[in-house]
């Protein structure tokens, strides 16, 4: 059995706690990183948190010319091996869901890695719009 | 010619060649090496041939245009066998006289004889000339008797007998063992035991193996490999075939620089002949062993003499070295086990096979019976150049002293100047002072003295040579030839040159010497390939043996050898008789004085070009 981050858009209240939690969990040397989850406002009182779906047949993995993206066997999440990334940004364009992001100072690509099996977003989401569940 | 199918046929073929030759027929060996070519030796050989025909001596005399004889300074040169008469500086228009007088009547032409610069006596026989007398031309000798482009000449001398012996009597392992026991060490500079290299390559896993001949000799003033390859290409090819058999290779490469057109062309001819004779290619001498090779021409980059850069170049990439923590004998050309040896190393192989380990190890230093690093065996060819009377290529037994090479063979320093230093090992070698002259010349002794054997360059310097300037020259060369890939070599050489230039112009400070030493240490430790690792040698060895010259430049603002222009002054002394010559030649118009009156140099105008001192016939100009 593996776990997945499940989104229930109707529960999202647009508080963006997930974004902050993500940024702090991926902080380096005390500086928060860029968030891997983004909350989108679709209409008045309608929000959707967007994050990587960890596709089975992932376009990012297929597009990466240097095999810097690989699936963590334990968590099932696709991870970026930052020191292998050659900053070609092809995955950013190739992902049909827009879930690859470029981090500015290092110019490397970042994405949701389910925090290695303990995703901060789900942990801190006050309304369980994000949940880390067995599937 | 018909392919030679087996060992018997080879023997018979050789016997046929030998018996067809008339032993009473005189042979005129005309050196047609590259050095003599500049003296129009080819025209001389044709003129001699034409004269022989014209004077009806064709059945009594044979003109043989041979490989290099080594005494390049005296070209064009020829030797008449069997009398061993040595003529030097022979011009084309003297050909008729040589034929009519010496060849027809046995009359010696005094004006063509060599005059010993030490005793002033004329010498008739080549073997009596000091330049040759103290040499032991094991590798070089045969090439002086044969036409490089005639395989028959090589075969008549016993060529490819070593190959036949190996293929008929020995197993590959035994050949490797033989080379190991002979103590042969790489002549390209490293001095790595050839047998150890062969064994590692043979034992490396994989089916395909390559052998390479490194003929990318590029040291300034050195041309040993070039002459060997030009003069006796078959000896190198035979060595490579034997090596290929021992190592288990079926493909070889000769990487030769394109600036050696004669070597390139002679090697091509020799390979074609060897193939035609059944000595190269499929099923060599009917034994089932197959091996062929190709010639690859290098573009003349010094760094391509480094084995990994050479292999990159062979593969069609830019000739840049890679760090070889995994050795090329295991992962070399196309990532296959590859054995690379230099021209001279390969040429030693047939010799060792033919004459045996006991004979070979009797020449040289140390004991290699237990440890292949235990000594230096065989001979070494040096290119003896610089401030020495007899310049040329000399082949001497390992262990000979520097003094013997420079004074007995080289005839010492010309113009009665004092000897100052000898630079061995090419640009990355070191400069040794007079106190090291009795040092035996072998791999380990030279390294201990702070220099190295290198590929065999030997540059003699007299008291007019500035050692700081010498170091600067070599660093400049190495900077130009550095591929520029790694930081210590590219930036280090650049900074080293900067500091040395500073010192040479009188702008140096004493702490520059510490900086040079510190930078040297890091370059030696940190550079990617041997070029950068050894680049500080000229600096370190001159700092070690001639530190006072550096200090004179820095502290006294003086160049003791009067070479570094910003640090020297020309003055006119009491010998001046007012001839006005210096005044007339001075390009700066810095000299004034009336006819028959004492002249003066205006130091503000003088730019230290030295034209005045060269023109003065009365030693009236001093430089300090």
């Amino acid at each position: 059995m593996s776990k997945m981050l499940m989104v229930t858009p109707g529960r999202c209240i647009g508080c963006r706690t997930c974004e902050v939690a993500c940024a702090f969990r991926h902080a380096e040397a005390g500086v928060p990183g860029r968030s891997r989850v983004q909350v989108r406002t679709l209409a008045k009182d309608v929000w959707v948190p967007i994050l990587c779906l960890q596709c089975d047949d992932a376009a990012c993995v297929q597009a990466c010319p240097v095999s810097a993206l690989w699936r963590n066997a334990e968590t099932g999440a696709i991870e970026v091996q930052e020191d292998r990334c050659v900053r070609c940004n092809v995955c950013v364009v190739a992902c049909p869901f827009g879930n690859m992001t470029v981090e500015s100072p290092k110019k490397a690509v970042i994405k949701c890695d389910v925090c290695g099996g303990d995703p901060a977003c789900a942990q801190f989401c006050p309304t369980r719009a994000l949940e880390y569940l067995e599937v | 010619m018909q392919a030679i199918g087996n060992f018997d046929e080879l023997k018979k073929y050789r016997e046929g060649l030998v018996s067809a030759r008339d032993p009473k027929r005189k042979v005129v060996a005309v050196c047609t090496g590259t050095g003599c070519k500049a003296y129009k030796c080819d025209d001389l050989a044709s003129a001699l041939e034409a004269e022989v025909v014209k004077q009806g001596l064709s059945d009594k005399v044979e003109i043989v245009p041979t490989g290099c004889h080594g005494f390049c300074e005296r070209g064009s040169l020829l030797v008449i066998y069997p009398d061993d008469i040595f003529y030097q500086k022979v011009s084309v228009d003297q050909a008729a006289e040589v034929v009519s007088k010496t060849l027809a009547n046995g009359e010696i032409l005094e004006e063509l004889l060599y005059e010993d610069p030490v005793t002033g006596k004329k010498i008739v026989k080549e073997s009596d000339i000091p330049f040759y007398k103290h040499q032991q031309q094991l590798l070089f000798g045969p090439g002086r008797r044969i036409r490089p482009t005639e395989i028959d000449d090589y075969l008549a001398l016993g060529g490819y007998e070593g190959l036949a012996k190996v293929l008929s009597e020995m197993k590959p392992d035994e050949v490797v063992e033989l080379i190991l026991k002979s103590g042969l060490r790489g002549r390209g500079g490293g001095g790595f035991p050839t047998g150890v290299k062969w064994r590692t390559c043979r034992d490396a896993p994989g089916d395909t193996r390559y052998v390479i001949c490194n003929a990318d000799e590029g040291d300034p003033g050195a041309y040993m490999d070039r002459s060997l390859l030009e003069g006796n290409p078959h000896s190198v090819i035979e060595g490579m075939i034997i090596g290929a058999f021992a190592i288990g290779s079926d493909q070889g490469y000769i990487y030769v620089r394109n600036e050696y057109p004669l070597a390139v062309s002679n090697v091509h001819v020799a390979l074609d002949q060897a193939r035609e004779a059944g000595l190269l290619g499929e099923n060599i001498l009917g034994t089932g062993f197959s091996f062929d090779m190709r010639v690859s021409r290098g573009g003349g980059a010094f760094v391509c003499g480094e084995s990994t850069a050479l292999m990159a170049s062979l593969e069609g990439f830019v000739g840049e070295p890679r760090a070889k923590y995994v050795h090329t004998v295991e992962h070399g050309l196309y990532d296959k086990p590859t054995n690379l040896n230099n021209v001279e190393t390969w040429a030693n192989v047939p010799l060792i096979v033919n004459k045996g380990v006991d004979w070979y190890t009797s020449i040289g230093t140390g004991d290699v019976s237990k440890n292949p690093w235990g000594g230096s065996k065989g001979t070494k060819i040096f290119s003896l150049v610089g401030k020495v009377k007899n310049t040329g290529l000399v082949e001497v037994p390992m262990g000979i002293s520097l003094r013997k090479i420079i004074y007995d063979i080289g005839g010492g320093v010309p113009d009665d100047r004092a000897f100052k230093a000898v630079q061995t090992g090419g640009p990355s070698g070191g400069c040794l002072p007079e106190s090291f002259l009795d040092q035996p010349v072998d791999f380990d002794e030279l390294s201990r003295a702070g220099s190295m054997m290198g590929s065999g360059g030997m540059i003699v310097m007299d008291d007019r040579t500035c050692m700081v300037d010498v170091a600067r020259y070599f660093v400049k060369f190495l900077l130009d030839e550095s591929c520029g890939k790694c930081v210590p070599c590219r930036e280090g050489n650049r900074r080293m040159l900067e500091i040395l230039t500073r010192i040479c112009s009188g702008q140096g400070v004493l702490s520059d010497l510490d900086l040079l030493e510190r930078l040297s240490r890091s370059m030696m430790r940190g550079s990617l390939c041997a070029l950068g690792q050894t680049a500080p040698n000229p600096v370190l060895s001159t700092l070690r043996h001639f530190r006072h010259e550096y200090e004179a430049h820095i502290v006294d603002h003086r160049c003791p050898a009067a070479v570094c222009r910003p640090l020297i002054t020309y003055t006119i002394n009491d010998e001046c008789n007012g001839c006005t010559l210096c005044k007339r030649v001075c390009p700066q118009k810095a000299i004034s004085g009336e006819k028959k009156k004492f002249h003066v140099i205006d130091q503000d105008k003088c730019d230290q070009c030295g034209v005045c001192i060269q023109s003065c016939k009365f030693d009236a100009i001093d430089v300090a």
């Binding site: 010319p65 364009v93 | 591929c483 650049r494």
Partner: protein
């Protein structure tokens, strides 16, 4: 698996591991400038030097960790006197070459080096010739730029120093450059790099120019992914995803209310 000793700590690594990886795995830091995990070791910057003693040998030697294979019984010192001196000298030389590069200055001062021992170069850019740009370009299959010249004249250049015909304007070279020395300018849906102008593709939704046409075409071909994957910029892809999810949610709700 093989065991080696790094700074006195016993470390077990897989056979074939590079020494640099073994050192970093063991938790020690070694600086590098030319190394990249996706590329073959290059061994040019010489910052990753370490001192090793091979099993059965008396002498130690200084080697570059990036291309030295981890060997059984190897003793490794990452901060020995020889190592620190060599590394410092390399930085001293680089600092003189690129006195204006913050990356080099920071690295140098981390080793206590605030001024170079050599006169700083004037009018030189911040290229340290680490070769990352050239090698990444080759790795991506373009080989549009290369190393030209040798010795002190060595430089990164396009063939014949003309605008490189094989460049697709992907910009990877500019992004991997450790000193940020390769200029890349995006303006008015055009990208300028290596003296060449590239037409950029606009997002079919928002109109933002987000990739050069040549790069897009080459990547569609190389990845085997449908071209439709590349039609939107990442922001618009994200918006589309949000809308899709929202639609599903509304549909789900409707279905739920029907039950």
């Amino acid at each position: 698996m093989l065991n080696l000793d790094i700074n006195g700590r016993r470390v077990t690594v897989r056979k074939g591991t590079a020494l640099l990886a073994a050192i970093r795995e063991a938790g020690f830091e070694v600086p590098t400038l030319c190394h990249h995990e996706a590329l073959e070791p290059y061994g040019a910057c010489r910052l990753c030097v370490v001192e090793v003693r091979e099993e059965g040998r008396d002498k130690t030697r200084v080697v570059t960790a990036c291309n030295y294979p981890a060997k059984a019984g190897l003793q490794v010192e990452t901060e020995s006197e020889a190592v620190v001196e060599t590394r410092r000298e390399v930085l001293d030389l680089l600092l003189a070459r690129c006195p204006g590069s913050p990356v080099i200055r920071e690295l140098a001062s981390s080793m206590g080096l605030h001024r170079s021992s050599y006169p700083p170069d004037q009018n030189r850019d911040n290229c340290i010739l680490c070769g990352l740009c050239v090698r990444v370009c080759e790795k991506l299959g373009f080989t549009a730029i290369t190393m030209a010249g040798r010795g002190a004249e060595r430089e990164v250049a396009a063939p014949l120093k003309e605008p490189p015909p094989d460049c697709v304007g992907c910009g990877s070279c500019a992004r991997v450059c450790p000193t940020g020395n390769i200029p890349l300018v995006d303006r008015d849906a055009m990208r300028r790099i290596w003296d060449r102008d590239f037409e950029m593709v606009r997002c079919t939704s928002c109109g933002r120019a987000y990739i050069t046409r040549e790069y897009l075409e080459s990547r569609v071909e190389a990845s085997g992914l449908p071209a439709s994957h590349f039609e939107l910029c990442d922001e618009c892809s994200r918006s589309r995803t949000a809308q899709t999810m929202y639609r599903h949610m509304v549909l789900d709700d409707k279905e739920a209310s029907h039950e």
